[in-house]
């Protein structure tokens, strides 16, 4: 920490979204600047989004009509496994970490992360983890046991290609990168804030990252242990998960979901943070119930470790266990619901600007609530027994992953893109993208609820021509291609914006937090001096000193102490 001045920093070029600059790619590879590393995380995420998207388009083509033989069953298994694994570990996680690495230091008035070289290490381990996972295609076959890779299908006897070994190695690498990044975030947030910023004035995105990083530290070791055991099983013939050798297949499920359920909150809590920035800015109101947003985030993080068995209701653990985890799963819906009402109340009475970022935020409220409701139905054990491993699950998880995580990332992208690139994307095309993507998403996944209720199992490579199945699957495939077209449009919008978009002002949205006090894009050194922080909206206080939040609190006769909710 003391030798922070010794870290070599590029001096000439400013970091921006475009990969070309005068020092070439070497400057990016050797960079320890948090903004450049953040941008590299985001480009990595886009790259893998395209790859995993193509994989699932092939899968959807195979499923478009009954009794199709477009793909061989082995290829089909590899494609859906790689799609899930990639989307979660190498699209959602790097995108979240990209925004975090870029914006946490800016939002707390710091000039870099606490450990800049560790930050670069985290990115490159994630990068090589993903590369290792994809190397399996050339090494003799990709992993083919689903993204959660159940025993005994993940054992050598059932999957003798080296794919699952690469799955273990790749995810171990990426997992270590995730853990070191989280350590870095916590230390940065706790020790590198501008001195006037108390924890009660932390931007909510930063609060969610803080909570989330503890969640990562507690959840990922379980996955790493499981992966290490699986590698020992496959390489040294240990018997952890091989039932023939006396091991336990259920143990894999316990270890995996003890990680896996917190993981779904790991990819949604930062998103809640992004929305808690977007809603107030575009409603021109302070967030409703700052304390409740933070408190419910902590509640989610704690409850996240008490719900993993709801992925395993069908394994026969007994009524007592099922009852306990059904209750806890219903319970964890409550703090999430609290947040939905926080955002609704923030919008209520506000003067709302329907920017693309805000459109995604509003769409999120609807789609994520649908995903939440279908999720709640799984907490009820008999319904779970009926619907588990059907397309209803596929529909549910995509409503929360796309309608939640991806919408949040896109909302954050359109919110922060002018800051990161110094350019404004085309508004008209961006709105076209929004509507195309939302339409494609709903066409793809709404019908899958019905398919699941009709009993279509997930992960089957083809299906008989039962009444209704063919047409619903065809609709779903058409929707998937619509989404793919929309993603193509998004990439076009971004590239055009980077090349010849209108120049962005430092504060295009009239926003509240410190990152908007810098130039767009920020210079290599984020801040020479930071404006005083006296409330949760320091930049607004600075722009409107007569109407500052902290003055409203100070003159409020009903309270002698500052309002803990920061309203």
């Amino acid at each position: 920490m003391t030798d922070i001045n010794l870290i070599p920093e590029p001096e000439e070029s400013l970091p921006s979204l475009s990969v070309s600059n005068d020092q070439g790619i070497l400057q990016w590879i050797s960079s320890v600047d948090h903004k450049q590393i953040g941008i590299m995380y985001l480009w990595l995420s886009v790259l893998f989004l395209v790859v995993a998207g193509i994989e699932i388009l092939l899968v959807r083509l195979q499923l478009a009509i009954p009794n199709n033989h477009f793909l061989a069953p082995e290829v089909y298994n590899q494609l859906f496994t790689m799609h899930g694994t990639t989307m979660i570990f190498f699209v959602a996680m790097p995108a979240i970490f990209g925004f975090t690495t870029y914006f946490v230091p800016l939002m707390i008035g710091a000039n870099d992360m606490a450990f800049p070289r560790l930050n670069a290490f985290s990115f490159w381990t994630t990068f090589f983890g993903g590369s290792l996972l994809y190397f399996s295609f050339i090494a003799g076959g990709a992993p083919d046991a689903g993204w959660f890779n159940y025993a005994p299908l993940n054992e050598y006897n059932y999957s003798s290609s080296p794919g699952i070994d690469y799955y273990c190695a790749g995810l171990l690498f990426a997992g270590i990168g995730t853990l070191t990044a989280s350590v870095n975030f916590i230390v940065t947030i706790l020790y590198y804030r501008v001195p006037s910023m108390s924890l009660k004035q932390l931007p909510l995105f930063v609060w969610m990252i803080l909570i989330n990083s503890f969640l990562v530290l507690a959840a990922f070791p379980s996955l790493n242990a499981a992966l290490a055991m699986l590698l020992l099983d496959r390489q040294l013939h240990a018997h952890f998960f091989s039932t023939t050798g006396g091991g336990s297949a259920i143990l894999w499920q316990h270890l995996f979901w003890l990680f896996g359920h917190p993981e779904v909150y790991i990819v949604i809590l930062p998103i809640f943070g992004i929305f808690s920035e977007v809603f107030p800015v575009f409603s021109r109101k302070p967030i409703f119930g700052y304390g409740m947003v933070v408190g419910s985030g902590i509640a989610i993080a704690l409850l996240a470790f008490g719900v993993w068995v709801h992925h395993m209701f069908a394994t026969g653990l007994g009524n007592t266990v099922n009852g306990f985890f059904a209750a806890s799963s219903l319970l964890i819906g409550v703090p999430t619901g609290v947040k939905i009402f926080n955002w609704l109340a923030t919008m209520h009475g506000g003067s709302i600007r329907f920017s693309v970022s805000m459109l995604f935020a509003i769409a999120f409220l609807i789609e994520f609530t649908i995903g939440g409701l279908s999720g709640i139905s799984f907490a009820i054990v008999p319904i779970d027994w009926q619907l588990t491993d059907t397309y209803y699950v596929v529909a549910h998880l995509h409503f929360v992953f796309i309608g939640g995580t991806l919408f949040g990332l896109l909302s954050g992208l359109f919110y922060w893109f002018p800051k990161m690139s110094g350019r404004v994307p085309d508004q008209r095309l961006s709105k076209w993208f929004f509507w195309l993507f939302v339409a494609g998403f709903n066409i793809t996944f709404l019908v899958q609820h019905a398919l699941g209720a009709m009993g279509m199992p997930r992960r089957v490579y083809t299906y008989p021509d039962l009444p209704g199945w063919g047409i619903l699957n065809l609709i779903s495939t058409i929707g998937a291609f619509l989404m793919a077209g929309a993603v193509g449009l998004l990439i076009y919008i971004l590239i055009i914006a980077l090349r010849k978009g209108a120049l962005a002002t430092p504060d295009p949205w009239d926003a509240n937090t410190l990152e908007w006090t810098t130039t767009s894009p920020p210079g290599l050194k984020n801040f020479d001096r930071v404006i005083p922080v006296k409330s949760t909206r320091p930049f607004r206080d600075y722009k409107r000193p007569a109407d500052a939040d902290w003055k409203a609190n100070a003159t409020d006769p009903t309270t002698t102490k500052p309002d803990p909710h920061g309203k």
């Binding site: 350590v183 530290l217 290490a228 055991m229 240990a238 018997h239 952890f240 050798g245």
Partner: protein, 182 residues
């Protein structure tokens, strides 16, 4: 920072220990455990590891007081004690392998070698780090320094010791007590 690292490492070992306990409750596990493990020799080399925590603590104290000669002594002693532990563990592994207990031989072998192996790996990593800071101490890097490195390494080293305390209790002592009472 190191506390966060140790916290996440603790979760990792918790997963391994839970797996060990889970398997140890299955039939056929405990007779093997009783037959193959020798609590006496393990207790001896465990004592070396436990005392290395004490010596490292002495090193930290002397560093704070600026007594560099004593610091060097305690660091070297810590290294020796840690190495003796690893040698002891190596001998135990060699004996087990001669008795045809390996990671692939049975559930006991699988969970025993994984748990103690990962712990041994952590001891080894700790020894590498301590060797580095010992070398740096001899080169005079920490003279009149306020470096936090000894405190940081100390937290890790004590953690590795504490993990062994649990492993030793669960793998060696509890089954032994069970054997005596039966």
């Amino acid at each position: 920072m190191i506390k966060l690292v140790v916290g996440t490492e603790a979760m990792f070992f918790l997963a391994l220990i839970m797996a060990y306990i889970y398997f140890s409750l299955l039939p056929g596990f405990s007779p093997q455990q009783a037959d193959h493990l020798d609590i006496r020799s393990t207790a001896i080399f465990s004592a070396f590891l436990f005392s290395s925590s004490f010596t490292f603590w002495r090193a930290e104290t002397n560093f704070k007081k600026g007594k560099m000669t004593r610091l060097k002594g305690w660091l070297l002693l810590t290294l020796v004690l840690g190495v003796i532990f690893l040698v002891g563990q190596g001998k135990e592994y060699a004996r087990l392998l001669r008795e045809n207990v390996s990671i692939g031989s049975s559930l006991f072998g699988t969970s025993f070698f994984t748990l103690t192996g990962f712990h041994g790996l952590h001891v080894f990593a700790g020894l590498v780090v301590i060797s580095i800071i010992t070398a740096l101490t001899f080169m005079g890097d920490y003279d009149r320094s306020t470096s936090s490195v000894f405190g940081t390494v100390g937290i890790y080293w004590h953690f590795v010791d504490a993990v062994w305390l649990f492993v030793f209790l669960i793998v060696y002592v509890l089954p032994h007590l069970h054997k005596i009472t039966c």
